[in-house]
Symmetry: C2
Subunit: 306 residues, 2 copies
Amino acid sequence: MDLVERIRSGNKRTLSKLITEVEYDTETGREALRELYKYTGNAHVVGITGSPGVGKSTLVARIVKELRKREISVGVVAVDPSSPFTGGAILGDRIRMQELACDPEVFIRSVSSSAGTVGRTTKNIIRVLDAAGKDVIVIETIGAGQVDLDVLNVADTKVIVLMPESGDEIQMIKAGLLEIGDVYVINKADLENAARTKSQLSLAIKERDGWIPEIVMTIATSGEGVEKLVDAIFAHKKHLEDSSNLRKGRLEAVKSEVVEILVEKLKMRFYEKFSNARYSDIFEQVLDKELDPFTAAELIEKEEGL
Amino acid sequence: MDLVERIRSGNKRTLSKLITEVEYDTETGREALRELYKYTGNAHVVGITGSPGVGKSTLVARIVKELRKREISVGVVAVDPSSPFTGGAILGDRIRMQELACDPEVFIRSVSSSAGTVGRTTKNIIRVLDAAGKDVIVIETIGAGQVDLDVLNVADTKVIVLMPESGDEIQMIKAGLLEIGDVYVINKADLENAARTKSQLSLAIKERDGWIPEIVMTIATSGEGVEKLVDAIFAHKKHLEDSSNLRKGRLEAVKSEVVEILVEKLKMRFYEKFSNARYSDIFEQVLDKELDPFTAAELIEKEEGL
């Protein structure tokens, strides 16, 4: 049985190994991605983002349970851009996730973001899980800047998790998160001021492409509200399918990806070129402040006929 | 008086305005950067990174105070990749920083990382402060993945802050932070197990280019150990100057920057090209799974003669 068949059959060990190949961007990984590509596009990708402490991991575990109750197969990709420094606190959740992972229809994988190309890596891992037949793929990502937005953009449905009165609202406005969320979750809804946070949020959220982002109140520790959350996710999925926005969004995603692939190749080529002596004069001049880097780039651009 | 002169004279209002231009990558900002470039390269850039809660901002405020005691002018650039979700908790520190900011020789600026090009933006803001005559520029960044590594790489001296027994050690090994720190700070050194954390860390740290990373114990809230920390930073500065690694490091930084400038330009050009109909067939084929994105990139590459 060849690799593609084994992946398609859902063999966990093969999946795990292939994802590692994809993570390290090996030749095997690339080849498999090319072959698997035609089997992708069936999974619904759900991005879940929120700052540390809002109960994101617990919520993800609950979502997975709820999906399994509905006999939906699940892949989870945990992207943790804060990996240099987090750790201890989420151990409990990791263990809870490991229990879920014993289910043959659930596959959980964490991705380190230190690789620099986390958006692309995540996208490719999602593809492997998609080709392996997972119905829903949940990406968990901390809400931290550009890396997360890159990851989040891979998702069909974007879920933004916050908690009552955490000061998140203002920060979200600044970061433009109020413009990208499809579903907003106020977790720890048993805390004071949950209702106030909800009303503030509903005032700030606007209809987008015919979809009014839903706000769901949850208590992830007890599971309260999770059923509603999963319903909201599927409502958004249906909206996308009905409105043809799914295809539009995915076409844009295809363009971005091809640009990224091209740019990454050119970058490698530049670094190779710059390691030989050809342009070392220019770089020395920049270092000695005789030339600024912008003019240097223009000179090289001309020289290379770009 | 022209812009360059006003910046060189240290006019805070001009500085503030120019940094905004640089942040938004305007034509004025770009032009100023070209002109100011020859006045740069004198400041020592110190990157301070650590996870939320280790007391980073308090420590930065203390470092600034200590530098001012030594009559050293300071620029602070706070890069906050977690801006979508942080907020409330650091308000106290922000206020403390604002007090420092009243000193004419101190300039403090925070940068949002949602711009996506935070590494380059930070580098350019540092340049403005450098040209304005700041002796030391401190960059404060949360330890969260690639964005931070990009920012941190701009620094001459990299300071990694952790706290006792936070489980940071293992995460740091994973993230490769043990290989890049020049100075390690164990803050909240009055907590239990500080000594144990120190000995574990010292076992893990290795000499690099003739420099053995220093470990400094601090209590930022009281200021204890901050003098030693600033001494360690200057010891590393002296080491760089003596060992010519500073020039070597900066030459590599110049190359990377020129590559980034080139790549960014090409990326814009690709997006422009892809917005017209020329390649829409290819993208549609990718979307319909008749072609994978890697092959699509190869086709376009050939077509464009890249």
